[in-house]
């Protein structure tokens, strides 16, 4: 099929199958995370997920044999454009699709792929990421969660932290220590069910009032040995590859906010709260800083586009890809700071009738954005990576 024919067919199918309510701005409580415990506040959310999953379009480039769409990168790009054109909500938000699936395709056994990938693509199993520990943040490889070989099973003891949505997840992909004598070479990558006896989660309340992260405890949790992905003590390579996907994914949409993709433009908020003089934001200093931010956001979006174009030449992502997560975190934080500043005291409410709901949401989002330069690798770690791997600078002695 030519790309033009694919586009025409895709457009027609979306026109027919994307429910009207799925073409409205996404509300936080209608995000489709899927999983065993999914609650479908709006039934269209489930309908949209099922229709897209039936075509494999929740994981457009995965092989059809594993529940994907089997699309080429160009076709997936067209699908994304067509979804954007009609303002369609993503059918599924999934750490399984964004992070775990790509490494399973690369490292898992055939049986593991068959078991997990179709359930991820269909949104049946919701995954969480067991990476950070209280003593292993930026220095992730110092993790201590112990995994012992007990003959017919692994026995896992330890604690994870900052596990996103662990309290709502069905399964976890988890980094564990299988050799205490070696640092990077003593780590393994295992999968297990969160209902396994000995697994407990405790939500962490953030400054935004929300609890997207948990502490996760493992006490004598028994895990089948067939749940090891890749080689024993070979998990660090998989862990790093997954982090690349995570950072790519975080930055590709700029935390969802860069460039005004949330639908609320900074300049409109400023015009509404600060006022206008001859059609311009009345505060010239704020106006200049908003324009500077918008220009940086545009340059960022153009960089994402350039990297995609360069990747198509088959030479792989150029060095520009390494800066995306750092740049996206900065941009999203500056956007939220400007938004708060533009709203003035209207943006300083915590809750209640004295403040408009959209303003309250922006305020919570501003607080949440402080984590952007910490999660998925701090900005400092990202700068270290650029300095060492891209620029070739040496470690301090």
């Amino acid at each position: 099929m030519t790309l033009d024919a694919f586009r025409a067919e895709t457009r027609a199918w979306l026109a027919e199958n994307c429910p009207a309510s799925m073409r409205t701005p996404l509300a936080e409580d209608e995000i489709a995370w899927g999983g065993r415990r999914a609650v479908w506040k709006n039934p269209d959310t489930k309908l949209w997920l099922d229709r897209m999953a039936a075509r494999g379009w929740t994981a457009p480039t995965w092989p059809t044999a594993y529940g994907g769409g089997g699309l080429t990168a160009e076709q997936a790009g067209i699908l994304a454009q067509e979804l954007k054109n009609i303002g369609a909500r993503p059918p599924l938000f999934s750490f399984g699709v964004w992070m775990l699936g790509p490494v399973l395709l690369e490292y898992a056994t055939e049986a593991q792929k068959q078991e997990h990938l179709p359930r991820i693509a269909a949104g049946q199993i919701r995954w969480c990421q067991g990476y950070s520990e209280p003593g292993a943040g930026s220095d992730l490889a110092s993790l201590q969660t112990k995994c012992e070989d007990r003959g017919d099973h692994f026995l896992i003891n330890g604690q994870k932290i900052w596990t996103s949505y662990a309290d709502q997840a069905d399964w976890i992909f988890c980094l564990v220590r299988t050799d205490a004598t070696r640092k990077h070479e003593g780590i393994s990558f295992v999968l297990f069910d969160m209902t396994t006896p000995g697994v407990e989660t405790r939500p962490i309340q953030l400054i935004s009032g929300n609890s997207p992260f948990c502490e996760t405890f493992f006490t004598d949790a028994k895990v089948p040995k067939s749940n090891l992905v890749g080689k024993l003590n070979g998990g660090w390579e998989i862990a790093k590859r997954l982090l690349q996907y995570e950072r790519q994914n975080i930055s590709a949409d700029g935390f969802g906010g860069v460039g005004g993709s949330s639908g609320v433009e900074l300049e409109d908020v400023a015009l509404a709260h600060v006022g206008a003089v001859q059609g311009r934001i009345a505060d010239p200093d704020l106006r200049a800083r908003i324009a500077a931010h918008r220009m940086d956001a545009r340059a960022f979006a153009l960089t994402v586009r350039r990297i995609a174009a360069e990747a198509k030449t088959g030479r792989g992502p150029g060095p520009a890809a390494s800066i995306l997560k750092y740049a996206a975190a900065n941009l999203n934080q500056s956007r939220h700071e400007l938004m708060l500043e533009a709203m003035g005291t209207d943006g300083l409410g915590w809750e209640g009738d004295g403040f408009a709901p959209p303003a309250l949401r922006e305020t919570r989002a501003w607080l949440r954005s402080k984590g952007n330069s910490i999660e998925g690798g701090t900005s400092e770690i990202n700068l270290n990576v650029v300095a060492k791997r891209v620029l070739g600078l040496l470690d301090h002695q």
Partner: protein, 379 residues
């Protein structure tokens, strides 16, 4: 780096090897030390560049050019920007060539484009009259006189004007400074009676000049485009000028960064390379980030120009503003990270710093382009 065609790759490689062999930074230093600020370039160097066809990259084939487009010309500008090559390439082969291509009659194109493409003449665009780029505020007057016009007024700090054979001058035939209507473009030749040129000894040795027009009489066929409608040509020409200069500045900033990065790897203190210190590593990584973001903006603006897209204005302002800020940052860090040696005239850091500030001011500072970007965005 943009995805290049085979011809573009050849062009870029040719430019890269030519600047290395014939126009290293040492050439600019020699020009400066020999009092070359009056002309602003070495004629032999310019002949060389023209012989390679670079003066005709955007000129249509019918007028002796290769019609390769702005993306291609920018590849050359980026390479010459790397070594601070002093030449009238930007003013002549990009800015004035664009004005003629966009606004010239067939007769005007025939009269000037082939000589531009061949490198036989150099040319300059005279717009600004005060210390800051503000094209709407043109006041230089052009009064109707018989069948022609008489020009009176001053132009300030016009790049490459000190030895230009042809000046495209933006004048006001009606309306008031600040208004875009009433602007008319004229083609004025070197040596025209009443045109006085004051070459400026600038920090970058690049041949800018003040021009004074005292009752300069020109004929009606010197008008480029329609009388009073010059803005329709001038604005897109300025966008092309901004995008092309941004490409040159991207080259300058990239090279300044490469030189600095090399120094971080070779200079040792406390028993190790200074690039092993995290304070410098993070600043280097931030510069790299800005360079990559700037490259995306510059390439997108050039692509939009060649495609005739409808957002050329916003992208050109974005490209110039990003190039301004990034070159500003990198040129300052180049001095600082080199320490004492960076303060000496013997080192090239000062040459990069001096060119940086001139290029930042030409065709609009960051605050000019930021304001314009906001205006275009409706806020």
């Amino acid at each position: 780096m943009a995805v290049l065609t085979e011809e573009q790759s050849i062009l870029r490689d040719a430019a890269k090897s030519w600047v290395a062999d014939h126009a290293p930074v040492a050439a600019l230093r020699r020009l400066r030390d020999a009092g070359g600020w009056r002309a602003g370039f070495d004629p032999a160097t310019w002949r060389d560049m023209a012989a390679m066809g670079w003066a005709g990259v955007i000129v249509p084939e019918a007028y002796g050019g290769s019609d390769f487009g702005h993306q291609s010309l920018a590849l050359v500008l980026e390479e010459t920007g790397r070594t601070l090559t002093a030449s009238p390439l930007h003013s002549t082969a990009l800015v004035v060539a664009s004005a003629l291509i966009l606004g010239g009659t067939a007769a005007q194109k025939h009269a000037w484009l082939p000589s531009i493409a061949a490198g036989d003449i150099t040319a300059a665009l005279a717009v600004d009259e005060a210390a800051h780029h503000a094209p709407e505020t043109i006041a230089l007057s052009a009064e109707k006189s018989g069948s022609g016009y008489v020009l009176n007024g001053k132009k300030r700090f016009i790049p490459d004007a000190s030895s230009a054979d042809l000046i495209v001058v933006a004048a006001r035939t009606h309306a008031k400074p600040g208004q875009t209507e009433g602007i008319t473009l004229f083609l004025v030749e070197r040596g025209t009676a009443g045109l006085a040129t004051l070459p400026l000894h600038t920090i970058d040795t690049r041949g800018a000049a003040d021009l004074t027009f005292g009752n300069v009489a020109v004929s009606a066929d010197a008008v480029l485009g329609e009388p009073g409608q010059g803005w329709a040509i001038l604005e897109p020409v300025l966008d092309r000028a901004s995008a092309g200069l941004a490409a040159e500045m991207l080259g300058t900033a990239s090279q300044a960064f490469d030189i600095t990065l090399d120094y971080l790897k070779t200079r040792t203190q406390f028993g190790q390379s200074i690039g092993a210190f995290q304070a410098l590593q993070h600043r280097a990584a931030k510069m790299f980030t800005e360079l990559e973001l700037t490259r995306s903006a510059v390439e997108a603006s050039l692509e939009a120009i060649d495609a005739g897209a409808d957002d050329i204005a916003a992208l050109a302002s974005l490209a110039k503003a990003k190039a301004n800020d990034t070159l500003h940052l990198v040129s300052n860090e180049m001095v600082q990270m080199h320490g004492g040696i960076g303060m000496t005239d013997a080192h090239d850091a000062g040459l990069y710093l001096k060119r940086a500030r001139v290029a930042e001011a030409l065709y609009g500072s960051t605050s000019y382009h930021r304001d314009r970007y906001a205006r275009l965005g409706g806020y």
